[in-house]
C-alpha cells in the first residue's frame, strides 16, 4: 500500500488536496476515511500510470521512426496490429482484477460494523438548508436537540441516523467518512469516527435547492471527558436573564421567534427552525454562513434573505431596540 501511496504522491494527487483544504478528502482523521482515501490513491495511481503510458504510446505511435514512404499515400494493409489488442487488453485485465479485489476488500472493511448496541447515536434530520440533530438516549430525559454542530467523543464509532424533512440531501464529512445520501422516507445509517480531537467540516453534497451551496455543518471531536461535560451541559436549560435588557430580549424572543424556534429556558417551543437553547456554544450561524458573533447575529436576524437568499427564515419586522434586545438575550445562551 505504501508503494501505491507513493505513486499517488509522486503523481501529485495528495499534496494538491491537503493544505488549506478543510474539506479535502485526504485530510483523514478517522480509520474509515483512511481506508477510502487509500483506495482513491490506489485507483488514482493506477489511473495516472495508465494515462501516462497511453500518452507515451500515442506520441510514439505518431512520431516513431518509419521506413521511407514509397507508397505515395496509397492505403496499405499491415497485419501486425492485433498483438497490440491482445497485450493491451490482457494487461488491462490483470490490473483490473487486482483493483477489483482491493475494491471488494475495502467495501467489506468499511461497511457497517455488525455490533452497534450501545453506540452513541445521533439522529440527523436534514432540512433546507440546515441540519437538525437529536442526541438519542435510552433515557428519554437525556435526549436533546441541537443544530449544525455535531459533537462526538474521539476514538469511538458514532452512529448517525439520517432522515430528511423535505428533499434529498447528502451527509458528508470528508475527513471522517464518505457520503451518505439523506432520503425522505428511508432512514440511512452512516458512521463517523475521529481519532484526533478537532473540528471537521461537513457539507451537503446533493443539490437540494437554492442554498445547497451553503449548508455546512461541523463535527467537533472531543476528548471523551470533554464530550461528557458538553453533553450534560446541553441537557440544561439556557441561563435565566440576569438583567433588564436580556429579560426584555427574552420577552421579545418569545413573542416574535417562538413560532419556529425552541429555546429551553424560555417559553419558545417552535419546531420549524433550529433549537437555540445553547446557540452560543456553536461557532457559526445559518449552517456555516456567518461567524457566530453579536454583529453577524444582528445582521442575520435583521435580514436573513440578504445573508442567505431563499432561506426559510423570514424577515421578522423588528425595531432596532427589539433587535438589540433579542441579540443581547441570545448572546447569553451558553
Amino acid at each position: 500500500m505504501r508503494a501505491v501511496s507513493l505513486v499517488a504522491l509522486l503523481a501529485g494527487i495528495s499534496p494538491l488536496a491537503q493544505a488549506g483544504n478543510p474539506l479535502g478528502i485526504f485530510n483523514n482523521a478517522g480509520q474509515d476515511a483512511q481506508e477510502l482515501s487509500r483506495l482513491v490513491a490506489l485507483f488514482g495511481g493506477v489511473s495516472i500510470a495508465v494515462i501516462v503510458l497511453i500518452a507515451l504510446l500515442l506520441i510514439s505511435a505518431i512520431w516513431h521512426r518509419r521506413t521511407a514512404d514509397t507508397t505515395g499515400g496509397r492505403p496499405q494493409r499491415d497485419e501486425g496490429g492485433m498483438p497490440w489488442i491482445y497485450w493491451g487488453v490482457g494487461l488491462s485485465a490483470v490490473v483490473l482484477i487486482i483493483c477489483m479485489l482491493f475494491n471488494l476488500k475495502t467495501i467489506a472493511a468499511t461497511s457497517t460494523p455488525a455490533d452497534d448496541d450501545g453506540a452513541l447515536t445521533v439522529h440527523v434530520t436534514a432540512h433546507q438548508w440546515w441540519w437538525e440533530l437529536t442526541y438519542q438516549d435510552p433515557d428519554s430525559h437525556k435526549v436533546f436537540l441541537s443544530a449544525n454542530e455535531i459533537h462526538i467523543p474521539v476514538g469511538r464509532k458514532v452512529k448517525i441516523l439520517l432522515d430528511s424533512a423535505d428533499v434529498i440531501h447528502s451527509f458528508w464529512v470528508p475527513s471522517l467518512a464518505g457520503k451518505m445520501d439523506v432520503i425522505p422516507g428511508q432512514t440511512n445509517v452512516t458512521w463517523v469516527q475521529a481519532d484526533e480531537p478537532g473540528v471537521y467540516r461537513g457539507e451537503c453534497a446533493v443539490f437540494c435547492g437554492a442554498e445547497h451551496a451553503r449548508m455546512e455543518f461541523r463535527v467537533v471531536a472531543q476528548d471523551p471527558k470533554d464530550f461528557a461535560a458538553w453533553r450534560s451541559h446541553q441537557l440544561e436549560d439556557a441561563p435565566q436573564p440576569q438583567d433588564a435588557a436580556t429579560l426584555r430580549g427574552r420577552l421579545v424572543f418569545e413573542s416574535r421567534c417562538a413560532a419556529c424556534h425552541t429555546l429551553r429556558g424560555s417559553s419558545a417551543a417552535g419546531m420549524a427552525g433550529p433549537d437555540l437553547t445553547h446557540l452560543m456554544d456553536r461557532s457559526t450561524l445559518a449552517a456555516g454562513v456567518l461567524p457566530n458573533d453579536a454583529g453577524h447575529l444582528a445582521e442575520w436576524i435583521r435580514d436573513p434573505q440578504k445573508q442567505k437568499p431563499g432561506t426559510e427564515m423570514p424577515q421578522v419586522p423588528l425595531s432596532e431596540t427589539d433587535l438589540a434586545a433579542i441579540v443581547a438575550y441570545l448572546r447569553t445562551t451558553h
Binding site: N21, I25, I51, R77, W84, G88, V89, I168, K179, G310
Partner: protein
C-alpha cells in the same frame, strides 16, 4: 437489370428529377425527406444548442471564478446549470451524432435514403420542438432548476412549483419520441437497406456505433419517458409514485432515470467512437486494426451498460451485495474500452499518420481524452472511492472528459473530415490547427483541475463557495481554461462559415477514403448513387491497393439503376442479398404536421388545455391515417 455505368450516365437527369426536392427553397425545406438535408439540419440545430449550452457555462464559470461572487442569484445559477446539462446531454450530444448518422448512413451503406424517409423528417421536427419546449420556459422566466437528473422530491410541486419541471417533462417526452423513431429508422435501415454484398461484417464502425445506440435507446428511452410521465402525474394529480408520505419511493425515480441514463451515456459516445474508428484509418492509410473485436466491443459496451446504472447511486444506502455487484460490473467496461484504445493505437502505430491534417489531430487527441475520461470513470466505479468522489467536481471532470473529450472532439474531427463531402469544399487547415490546439489545451486546462478541486471537496451544483475552503485558485484556472476552450470552438465555427463560403474545392474523395461515401460526388447528388453498387469488401475503394483476393466491388462499374420512381434496394438481413425493390415515399408535409399536432396534443395533455389536446389528437390521428394510407399503385409486379 444490372446496368453498366455508361448506361446509367444517360439516366442521370431522370434520377435527378425523381429524387430532387421540389417546391422551391422555402416550401421545399418543410417537405424534404432527403436524409442529407435532415442530417445537416440535425448537425446545425444541435450545434446551435451547443453554443447556447456553452454560453450558459460561460456565465457559470464567471460566477465561480472566485469565492463569494455575486454575478448570479442562487436561483439563476440553478436554472443555468440545469439548462446547461439538459442542453448538452439531450439537445446537443445525441442529436449531433444523429446528424452524422442520418447524413452518412445511406452513403456508407450504398442506399438512396433511410428506410423511413418521412419518419426521419418527423424525428427531426420532434427534436426541434422538444428543444423549443425546454427553452420556452427559460424565456418565460423560470427554466428547469433541479439539475438534468431532476431528483424527486425536489422535482415535486411542493418544492419546485411552476411550469419549469413540466416543461422539462414535455421536452423529454417529445425528445423520447424523436429518439425512438430515429432509432427504429436506423435499425430497419441496417436490416434492409445495405447494398448487395454489404454483409454485417463489412459495415463501417460508425454504423455499429449508431446501431448499438439505437438498439440501446429502444430499450432505455421508455424508462425516462415513463419516469417523467409518472412525475407529471405526481405533480399534477397528486399521485404517489415518488412521494414517501403515500407509500411511494423517491429512489424509484433514481432507478428509472439511471436505467435510462447509463445506456444513454453510451449512446452519446459509441457513434462518436465510431467516427474515430472510421476516421483514423483514412488518415493513417490503412484499415482499422481489429475491426471485428472493435465491433464486438461496441456492442458489448452497450450490453454491459444496461447492468451498471446503480453506480450512480452508490451513496443512497443500498445493501453491500448490490454495491459489490454493480461496482464489479461497472469496472468490467474497462475491457471493451481497452479493445478500442489499443485498436486505435495500433492503427496509428502501424499506419502512416498524416500528422498535418486537422481531422487527424482531433482523432488522435480524442484517444488520450478518451483514456482520461475512462479511468476517472473506473475510479468512481470503486464503491468506497465513490463515496468520497461522487457528487463532487471529480464527477463533473469525469463527465466533461466523456462528453467533450469523447463526443465533441470526435464530432469536430468528423466535421473536418466530412465537411468536403457535405459541401464540396475543404475547411481551412491553418485555422483548423489553431482551433485544435486552442480546444485541446484549453480543455485540459479547464477541466483537468476539476478532478483536483473535487478531491479538495468541492461539491457539484454550488453557486458559490467561501474563501476559506481553498478552492479559489483551481476555480480561477478552470475558468481561464474553459474560456480558452470556448475560443477554440469559436474559431472552429468561424472556420465552418468561411470555408462554406470560400473553401478550396474538394473532389469526390479528398482524403483517399475507402468507404462508399467517397465514391460519389461532393456534395452527393439527391439520389446518392447512380447505381446501387455491389460490395465485395469492407473498403470498396481500397480493393486494388489492399489486394485482397479476386472479388471486386462494382462501384462506378455496374449496379442497380432503379429509375421507376423513388426506389432503393432491399437486401437480406445477414448476407445482404438482393431481396426486393423498395418503393420510397416522396417529399411530404405530413411529418411536420404530425409533429406539430402531436406536440400540441402533448402540451394540451400536460397543461390541461383540453381544446388543444383534442385538436392536436384529432389532427394527429388524421395525419397518421393519411401517412399510412396504402397505395394501390404499389401492386406486386416483379422486375
Amino acid at each position: 437489370m444490372l446496368v453498366t455505368v455508361d448506361e446509367a450516365e444517360r439516366h442521370e437527369r431522370e434520377l435527378e428529377d425523381i429524387w430532387e426536392t421540389k417546391g422551391g427553397p422555402f416550401f421545399g425545406w418543410f417537405i424534404s425527406v432527403d436524409h442529407k438535408s435532415i442530417g445537416k439540419r440535425y448537425l446545425i440545430t444541435s450545434i446551435i444548442f451547443l453554443i447556447l449550452g456553452g454560453l450558459e457555462a460561460a456565465v457559470m464559470r464567471w460566477q465561480l471564478a472566485q469565492p463569494d461572487m455575486h454575478v448570479l442569484t442562487p436561483e439563476a445559477y440553478a436554472q443555468l446549470f440545469t439548462m446547461h446539462g439538459v442542453t448538452m446531454i439531450f439537445l446537443y450530444a445525441f442529436p449531433v451524432l444523429s446528424g452524422f448518422s442520418n447524413y452518412l448512413w445511406p452513403l456508407l451503406l450504398g442506399s438512396r435514403d433511410m428506410a423511413f424517409p418521412r419518419l426521419n423528417a418527423f424525428s427531426y421536427w420532434m427534436f426541434l420542438l422538444a428543444g423549443i419546449a425546454m427553452y420556452v420556459s427559460f424565456i418565460a422566466g423560470r427554466a428547469p432548476d433541479n439539475g438534468w437528473f431532476n431528483y424527486v422530491p425536489y422535482a415535486n410541486g411542493t418544492f419546485d412549483p411552476g411550469v419549469n419541471i413540466d416543461a422539462y417533462a414535455l421536452g423529454m417526452i417529445l425528445l423520447g419520441i424523436s429518439t425512438t423513431v430515429g432509432g427504429i429508422n436506423f435499425i430497419v435501415t441496417l436490416i434492409r437497406l445495405r447494398a448487395p454484398g454489404m454483409s454485417l461484417n463489412r459495415v463501417p464502425i460508425i454504423i455499429w456505433g449508431t446501431l448499438t445506440a439505437s438498439l440501446g435507446n429502444l430499450f432505455a428511452v421508455p424508462s425516462v419517458t415513463l419516469a417523467f410521465v409518472l412525475l407529471w402525474f405526481d405533480r399534477t394529480y397528486h399521485t404517489h409514485f415518488f412521494d414517501s408520505t403515500g407509500g411511494g419511493q423517491p429512489l424509484l425515480w433514481q432507478h428509472l432515470f439511471w436505467m435510462f441514463g447509463h445506456p444513454w451515456v453510451y449512446s452519446i459516445v459509441l457513434p462518436a467512437m465510431g467516427i474515430v474508428s472510421d476516421g483514423l484509418p483514412v488518415f493513417c492509410r490503412r484499415p482499422l486494426v481489429g475491426y471485428s473485436v472493435v465491433a464486438l466491443a461496441t456492442v458489448s459496451t452497450m450490453v454491459l451498460g444496461f447492468g451498471v446504472w446503480v453506480h450512480h447511486m452508490f451513496a443512497t444506502g443500498l445493501p453491500v451485495t448490490s454495491l459489490s455487484f454493480f461496482s464489479s460490473a461497472s469496472m468490467v467496461i474497462v475491457l471493451p474500452s481497452a479493445v478500442a484504445v489499443f485498436a486505435w493505437l495500433a492503427t496509428i502505430w502501424t499506419g502512416r499518420p498524416q500528422k498535418h491534417v486537422t481531422a487527424f489531430l482531433f482523432f488522435a487527441g480524442f484517444v488520450i481524452l478518451f483514456v482520461i475520461g475512462g479511468v476517472s470513470g473506473f475510479m468512481t466505479a470503486a464503491v468506497p472511492a465513490d463515496w468520497q468522489l461522487t457528487h463532487t467536481y471529480f464527477v463533473v471532470a469525469h463527465l466533461h472528459y466523456v462528453i467533450i473529450g469523447i463526443n465533441v472532439f470526435a464530432v469536430v474531427g468528423g466535421v473536418y473530415m466530412w465537411f468536403p463531402k457535405m459541401t464540396g469544399r475543404f475547411m481551412n487547415e491553418t485555422l483548423g490547427k489553431w482551433s485544435f490546439w486552442l480546444m485541446f489545451i484549453g480543455f485540459n486546462i479547464g477541466f483537468f483541475p476539476m478532478h483536483i478541486v473535487g478531491l479538495q471537496g468541492m461539491p457539484r451544483r454550488i453557486y458559490t463557495y467561501p474563501a476559506d475552503v481553498g478552492w479559489g485558485t483551481m476555480n480561477l484556472i478552470i475558468t481561464y481554461g474553459a474560456y480558452l476552450f470556448a475560443m477554440g470552438v469559436l474559431l472552429f465555427l468561424i472556420n465552418v462559415v468561411i470555408s462554406r463560403i470560400g473553401g478550396k474545392a474538394a473532389g469526390s474523395n479528398p482524403w483517399g477514403g475507402g468507404t462508399l461515401e467517397w465514391s460519389v460526388s461532393s456534395p452527393p447528388p439527391p439520389y446518392n448513387f447512380k447505381l446501387i453498387p455491389i460490395v465485395a469488401r469492407r473498403h470498396p475503394l481500397w480493393e486494388e491497393e489492399l489486394g485482397e483476393g479476386q472479388d471486386r466491388s462494382s462501384t462506378n462499374a455496374k449496379g442497380f439503376l432503379l429509375n421507376h420512381g423513388r426506389e432503393t434496394l432491399g437486401t437480406t438481413m445477414l448476407d445482404a442479398e438482393p431481396d426486393v425493390i423498395l418503393k420510397m415515399p416522396g417529399d411530404s408535409l405530413t411529418p411536420l404536421i404530425l409533429a406539430l399536432a402531436l406536440s400540441a396534443f402533448t402540451v394540451g395533455l400536460l397543461f390541461k388545455l383540453w381544446i388543444v389536446f383534442g385538436i392536436g389528437g384529432g389532427i394527429s390521428l388524421l395525419a397518421c391515417v393519411f401517412w399510412l394510407w396504402p397505395e394501390r399503385s404499389l401492386s406486386q409486379v416483379e422486375r
